[in-house]
């Protein structure tokens, strides 16, 4: 695909803004070093709102830019390149997509557009992404529901104003029917939030629900019909995560290639060694391919094409493997300095590891490609 002028404009805007304000020194390293409980800066989230980015996917009628998956992917790529910590993926993409066209959306979108609201999504219940296996129960109680069970790897869960919780209202683990998506406000009684720092210094929560009471109007869409909004949100989420990994892979490669051009060993620039040149060239190609797959998934999502589903799995699996390759090559080619906390290359390695797991790792998505392609 060839980007339109408007898409290029969004990408350029995100690129220059994040290269200025979203850098590792100003954001990731800074928040980590001061031990910030959110792992990201609310000021930056507010600045992103001023640029319209927080409402990128919110319909124009509700105050957003009404843009699609392609624009989202272009912004995510720049987020990834700078390792900029923010709730953009969980809030502006995943939560907005899930709540689009619902009463819950009308309620939460203004805060998101203003950069005042942070949203999280709670899907995983074990160490691996298995959305059909959801067992957290929501039982009818009074004029609402009572939620009981646990969730983990809820990114930004402890910072969120609202958590989208995928729960089982009927059926049994393994079925996609019988799931319901709830918008649970942070102050809900009976919800215990354990804030966990992950390997990459981002924060995710472990949530325990002990008969957490929510009103009937907390339901997003239909009772027992949660799979549809969840499926849509996950498709956009994994495409966004793939784009972030493409950006991170590109950032790691740029840092590494720059290093190959200036580091001397054995009286030569190490970039003169053919073995390193070939590995760097191979990596370049893999990143281009992962990027094309990711933009293809986004394009198909924007077109409403049936193939968007399988392509989003391809994108996440490919980008996960490519980002892994990029950071491994990056740290290795940096040699000893790459093992130090002082150097930034290690941040890429940690972030790529977390992103690969988020919304399902490469193995999971390759398996989905196999199932859907058969």
């Amino acid at each position: 695909m060839i980007l339109t002028d408007d898409q290029r404009q969004i990408a350029d805007m995100a690129k220059s803004f994040l290269a200025e304000e979203g850098t590792i020194a100003k954001q990731l390293r800074h928040w980590r070093d001061i031990g910030c409980k959110d792992g990201f800066g609310h000021d930056l989230w507010k600045q992103m709102a001023e640029l319209g980015l927080t409402g990128l996917a919110v319909p124009e009628a509700e105050g957003g830019l009404g843009l699609g998956a392609t624009e989202a992917a272009l912004v995510m790529e720049e987020v990834g390149r700078n390792l900029t910590p923010s709730p953009f993926l969980t809030t502006a993409l995943v939560a907005v997509e899930a709540m689009k066209g619902t009463e819950q959306g009308k309620h939460w979108f203004p805060g998101i557009v203003a950069g005042e609201t942070v949203a999280a999504i709670a899907v995983d219940e074990g160490p691996h992404h298995r959305p059909r296996q959801i067992a957290l129960r929501a039982e009818r109680s009074g004029n609402g529901f009572a939620l009981s069970g646990t969730k983990q790897f809820v990114v930004h869960g402890a910072s969120a104003d609202v958590i989208l919780v995928a729960a089982r209202t009927s059926g049994s683990a393994g079925e996609s029917d019988g799931l319901t998506l709830f918008a649970v406000p942070r102050e809900a009684a009976g919800m215990t939030v354990e804030n966990v720092a992950l390997t990459d210094s981002s924060k995710a929560a472990r949530l325990t629900f002990d008969k957490v009471a929510v009103d009937a109007d907390a339901v997003i869409g239909e009772v027992d019909g949660g799979w549809e909004p969840l499926r849509r949100a996950m498709r956009l989420g994994r495409t966004g995560a793939a784009a972030e990994m493409v950006g991170a892979a590109g950032g790691a490669m740029t840092m590494t290639v720059d290093y190959l051009r200036q580091r001397k060993q054995f009286g030569k620039l190490i970039g003169e060694f053919q073995v390193l040149q070939h590995r760097a060239a191979h990596l370049f190609g893999e990143i281009e391919i992962a990027r094309a797959a990711t933009l293809k998934a986004a394009e198909l999502l924007d077109k409403g094409d049936d193939k968007a589903g399988i392509m989003s799995h391809v994108a996440k699996a490919k980008a996960g493997r490519v980002a892994t390759l990029a950071v491994q090559e990056g740290v290795q080619m940096h040699g000893g300095i790459g093992m130090t906390d002082e150097h930034d290359i290690g941040f890429y390695m940690k972030r790529a590891k977390v992103l690969d797991s988020l919304f399902g790792d490469s193995s999971y998505h390759a398996r989905m490609v196999q199932v859907m392609g058969a």
């Binding site: 620039l269 003169e272 070939h278 060239a281 391919i289 094309a292 933009l295 490919k318 390759a366 196999q370």
Partner: protein, 385 residues
């Protein structure tokens, strides 16, 4: 209706009316391809008719100017045509080095006379071309070639040997790199066209590990060539050659992929009872589908003039390595069935022969290592490369 939508509707109905039913079935093997040329034996009337009607419309080369036998279509219209052909499973009407390699070079470097003389017959599949680049001792290090081309006043005189000349024994004409000066390695090369029926040209097929002989050794012994058959300037053929190589790499990068089928490898192999192999195939499909997206993106970039000139090297490298992997997996999935060389049930050893054929992919058109070197130098700008 926009112009493009009405073009799509017209194209659809024209294809419906003109594409023979037999040409809407998947090719069973490389033997089903239509190569055209003076001596080509059409496999069926349908194959001949399909080439003729597409050639008349200029749709064998839809994006070439109509004045040179092309369709004169815009990039967007060309894409629509390809989509509509794919939608009915229409076969490619013509496989041709004239289209994929020589044509683009002539369009860029040929004289007006050369364009009007050669391009229309390429478009209609009347002349089959082969490429004389490699020589013994000058494969990927192409500029080391030795074939001599002397100026004899009213003609050129060519002496030397080429190797790996694909289908030279079936070709009508050759586009060829020759040495017109020994003063500099890259600077003394010229790009020459001549008829394979010229006196002094002989070919000898090379038997390969696959048992096939798609390549030949080609010998030139005092071959006389008219003066107006050099493309570009004398001693500056290297520019033409490099431009053409970009197109060759683009073509090779797509070999074995797409090919009209959108099935995943997992789907085409059917049930695989070995979980380790099944996982390998699943991961391969991720790579293959992602690469197909890249191919599409790359073609769009080329048409929009936005592709980096070294990108064909990246595509050639990635595509051919992937194709080798595909055939390793097909062999693994086939088990001992895939080892049969000439039995009927193995269709004459289709699987092992194709597997062996793919091994040439990462050698022909510049080895994988050469491509990686080009990417390192021209895209990554690494030192000393």
């Amino acid at each position: 209706m926009t112009d493009l939508e009405s073009f799509r509707a017209e194209t659809r109905s024209w294809l419906e009316a003109n594409c023979p039913a037999e040409m809407r079935t998947p090719m069973r093997s490389e033997d089903d391809a239509c190569w055209g040329g003076r001596n080509f034996q059409f496999q069926s009337e349908a194959q001949e008719q399909w080439l003729r009607v597409m050639g008349e419309k200029g749709w064998t080369v839809p994006d070439w100017p109509a004045a040179y036998g092309g369709g004169g279509l815009s990039p967007a219209e060309t894409k629509v045509l390809r989509e509509e052909m794919k939608a009915i499973g229409a076969r490619n009407p013509l496989s041709s080095f004239g289209i994929s390699m020589l044509g683009p070079a002539l369009l860029k470097y040929g004289t007006e006379e050369q364009k009007t003389r050669f391009l229309p017959e390429i478009a209609r599949g009347e002349i089959r071309w082969c490429q004389g680049y490699s020589e013994p001792g000058a494969g990927s290090d192409l500029a080391g070639l030795q074939t001599r081309c002397e100026d004899k006043g009213d003609h050129w005189l060519v002496n030397g040997q080429k190797v790996w000349t694909s289908y030279a024994d079936k070709a009508d004409w050759i586009f060829c790199l020759v040495r017109t000066s020994t003063e500099s390695k890259h600077g003394g090369i010229s790009f020459l066209l001549f008829d394979m029926e010229s006196e002094g040209v002989s070919t000898k097929p090379i038997l390969l590990i696959s048992g096939y002989s798609p390549f030949c050794e080609t010998f030139f012994d005092d071959v006389k060539v008219p003066k107006d058959q050099i493309v570009g300037e004398v001693n500056k053929g290297w520019d033409v050659a490099k431009y053409l190589l970009g197109h060759e790499r683009e073509m090779i990068s797509g070999m074995g992929l797409g090919s009209g089928s959108s099935r995943t490898l997992a789907a085409s192999l059917g049930e695989i009872d070995d979980p380790v192999l099944a996982a390998e195939v699943a991961l391969f499909d991720v790579d293959a589908i992602a690469f197909a997206a890249m191919s599409e993106h790359f073609i769009d970039q080329l048409k929009a003039g936005e592709a980096h000139p070294a990108m064909p090297s990246m595509m050639k490298y990635a595509g051919t390595e992937l194709n080798k992997k595909r055939h390793e997996l097909i062999m693994a999935a086939g088990g001992s069935d895939a080892l049969e060389w000439d039995s009927e049930r193995s269709r004459g050893g289709k699987a092992p022969r194709e597997w062996l054929r793919t091994k040439a992919n990462s050698i022909e058109g510049g080895t994988s290592e050469v491509q990686l070197g080009i990417v390192a130098k021209h895209i990554l700008r690494l030192p000393g490369a």
